[in-house]
């Protein structure tokens, strides 16, 4: 399936690889300062102003019917843009603690709450901890197919997966809801491991958050338009859908491309730092593009750099990427990047192909055989 040839690293090489990346990280942390602070504050301002402009245009269209269609379209685009920027470049990065060093209480990773139905608390657990620590490790990283899709042949096939070309589309449209309930792990309830009452108790915080978001987007703002609530309501619905699909595409490009690998649980036992870095590299894929792509993807266009250094401010990833590529070349490691159509094309192919039974690839060792012995 893949023609990628990664050099098998010796223990010493692996350690040197890790040390070089640690040094790269230290170099960037040392130079954090006013320009990084200015960057994230500009993103905050961008989120606020596009949000207000988008909502204002929706109201304009609702009340001034002669400009309904152009104002509605522009309003939806701006509102979706605001939500995408907030979720990706602002919230996702802030929640990682990337801007904790600034000491701004409103940009603290441990307390930030975002504009999406899922709670930041759940995200800190499922994403910051589980996904980032155990990236693409089967049985530990719930992000592999989100318990809903079979992306890799190593996942056991069940007849349910035949529906996944359709399920995947529905999942894309409702992505924020999928993220919101990810930590509830409904499978445990289906399997009878927890009672419905227990499930409800666990669901209370996220339920409250869902209610808040629905009230704001689907009740409060439409109601402000009085009799002309419908275009405002629809505008909010469509903006949320656009955000859902875009975030889905970006996130799926991050770990489910053709050359992305998954790993068995044994892989993480007594894992060295170098091995952890190597696993992040092999399990992640970038999206090639310029500054606009970086901004719109919350710099997940640099998924590899993000997984190496999840708590380094994302505005540094573009500069870090140059050095990461050079290091990867020297260590004979494939640097998985490509245009968004190419990367997402590979993802779609995986979703279609592995809806049907498929056989796992031959296991290629990450490191020389003695490493994990």
């Amino acid at each position: 399936m893949s023609a990628v040839q990664n050099r098998v690293l010796s223990t010493a090489e692996l350690e040197a690889f890790g040390n070089e990346l640690d040094a790269l990280r230290a170099r960037h942390l040392e130079t954090l300062g006013a320009s990084d602070a200015r960057y994230i504050r500009r993103v905050v301002a961008g989120v606020r102003w596009t949000g207000v402009a988008g909502r204002a245009l929706l109201f304009l269209g609702a009340f001034v019917h002669s400009v309904l269609i152009p104002a509605w379209i522009a309003g939806v685009v701006l509102l979706a843009l605001s939500k995408i920027l907030e979720n990706m470049e602002l919230a996702h990065n802030v929640i990682h603690g990337q801007y904790d060093w600034m000491g701004d209480p409103q940009l603290q990773g441990s307390t930030y709450e975002w504009d999406i139905v899922g709670t930041a608390d759940n995200w800190r657990k499922t994403h910051n901890f589980r996904h980032h620590t155990y990236t693409n490790v089967r049985g530990l990283d719930d992000d592999i197919g989100y318990g809903l899709l079979r992306i890799f042949p190593e996942q056991r096939w069940r007849p349910f997966y035949l529906t996944q070309p359709v399920v995947a589309v529905v999942f894309a449209l409702l992505f924020e809801w999928g993220i919101a309930i990810q930590d509830l792990r409904l499978g445990r309830w289906f399997a009878g491991k927890i009672t419905f009452r227990q499930l409800l108790a666990q669901a209370r915080p996220v339920g409250r958050k869902m209610g808040k978001q629905m009230f704001k987007d689907y009740l409060l703002f439409p109601a402000l338009a009085g009799p002309f609530f419908l275009p405002v309501l629809l505008g909010n619905v469509v903006a949320n859908l656009i955000r859902n699909v875009w975030t889905y595409v970006v996130i799926f490009c991050g770990h489910f491309t053709a050359d992305a690998e998954t790993f068995p649980k044994e892989c993480v036992r007594d894992e060295s730092r170098g091995h952890w870095y190597l696993r992040q590299l092999r399990g992640s894929s970038n999206i090639a593009g310029g500054k606009v792509m970086n901004l719109m993807t919350g710099n997940l266009s640099h998924q590899i750099e993000h997984h190496f250094f999840p708590d380094v401010p994302a505005n540094r990833y573009a500069a870090i990427a140059v050095e990461v590529r050079e290091i990867c070349t020297r260590y004979g490691q494939h640097y998985n990047t490509g245009s968004m159509p190419r990367q997402f094309g590979q993802v779609m192919w995986r979703i279609l192909r592995h809806a049907f039974p498929s056989r796992p690839r031959r296991v290629r060792p990450l490191v020389a055989a003695t490493q994990n012995a």
Binding site: D22, A26, L32, G33, A34, S35, D36, A37, R38, V44, A45, R48, I95, H96, G97, D100, W101, M102, G103, D104, P105, Q106, Q108, G109, S110, E113, R124, K125, N128, F129, R130, H132, T133, R273, W276, P310, D311
Partner: protein, 357 residues
């Protein structure tokens, strides 16, 4: 004097905090006026003047969220320097119009004091913490008050002297104020003017490097010139070494002894041994080993702080550090900045710490 802390503003049903998030409110309100926040105390710099050769007095007008400060108390003042918000404690004097006067001495290598002395301009906005500190005088301060100050430890004393002045100097008050040289003294004229009005208020300037007549440090100071101190309420503020020496001298000699020390963080000589770690939220103080990650050390004491990856990437164990020096277990770097965040899994304690845990 509107000095006593007042209760926080009551939560009204129409208050914006029920309807919009703090970040959203603060963003838009501060476009209009940077002092308009939902709950954060901030202040605008409305005046500055030199206080001595190396100190300035800054006059700050706080917003409505600042709950007041009693004379002798401290507060944290936060400024942004090179993208980072840095906080230091200062002891303000409340002026008649409710403004706070803070005297800042430029400390060599002190990022906040250098910033305030050199770069702070009228119109700048700073963050304020709420007042703290026990070194305050009750309305009936006994029969005698003894104030000992060194360096910028004089700032809470100035506020206390003004409080006593406003009350008509009801008791005998002695202020002993140590500095190296005359040029480094703050408020000398103000103290002299008050002393001229009240025979019961005496100021003793102790200049340890005065070319004409150097005075002894607190350890050798001749307290007998002050008379009988056995009934005195003594208050001491200054650098750690000064306060320790004063405490040793006055212990058992006065009726009440209150001290307040400020010491810039000092890196330890070695990374072995143990330190005292105060967990402020749970009200416990533990003795933890240096060189072991705080997470492991806390777990060894039977605590279960939130944690995740245990390798410094997931940010789950991040915790506020009020003061003290920590050391990164992977890079060996020290972090001495107070009021910052620390990841428990990849940092060990190097000095005594106060954690928000």
């Amino acid at each position: 004097m509107s000095a006593l802390p007042r209760p926080p503003a009551r939560r009204a049903a129409l208050s914006p905090r029920h309807w919009v998030s703090e970040a959203l409110f603060d963003f838009w309100a501060s476009r209009v006026n940077p002092l308009w926040t939902q709950r954060r105390a901030r202040a605008r710099l409305v005046g500055r003047e030199g206080a001595s050769t190396d100190a300035v007095t800054l006059v700050l007008r706080p917003n409505r969220h600042f709950r007041g400060v009693a004379p002798g108390q401290h507060l944290m003042l936060g400024v942004e320097v090179d993208g980072r918000r840095l906080s230091r404690s200062y002891s303000p004097t409340v002026l008649e119009d409710g403004c706070l006067a803070i005297t800042v001495k430029a400390v060599a290598g002190g990022r906040v004091s250098q910033h305030l002395v050199q770069h702070a301009r009228v119109g700048d906005v700073v963050e304020l913490g709420q007042a703290f500190g026990e070194m305050t005088l009750s309305a009936t301060p006994g029969t005698r008050v003894l104030l000992l100050a060194a360096g910028s430890g004089v700032t809470p004393m100035r506020a206390l002297v003004r409080q006593l002045d406003a009350a008509g100097m009801p008791v005998q008050v002695d202020l002993v104020y140590w500095a190296q040289q005359r040029g480094a003294l703050c408020f000398a004229e103000e103290f002299a003017a008050i002393a001229a009005r009240y025979p019961g208020f005496r100021v003793h300037l102790a200049l340890t490097r005065d070319p004409a007549a150097p005075t002894a440090r607190v350890g050798e100071y001749d307290f007998s010139v002050l008379g009988d101190l056995s009934a005195a309420h003594a208050m001491v503020c200054g650098p750690g070494g000064f306060v320790d020496a004063a405490r040793a001298r006055l212990h058992g000699q006065v009726a009440v002894l209150q001290t307040e020390a400020f010491t810039p963080p000092v890196l330890p000589d070695s990374e072995t041994g143990t330190v005292q770690v105060e967990l402020r939220r749970s009200g416990r103080t533990l003795e933890l080993p240096r060189g072991t990650s705080l997470l492991q050390a806390l777990e060894a004491e039977g605590l279960r702080p939130a944690s995740g990856c245990r390798m410094g990437i997931c940010n789950t164990c991040v915790c506020g550090k009020a003061s003290g020096v920590t050391r990164h277990t992977l890079t060996g770097e020290y972090a001495a900045e107070p009021a910052t965040q620390v990841k428990l899994c990849v940092n060990s304690a190097s000095t005594d710490l106060i954690l928000e845990l």
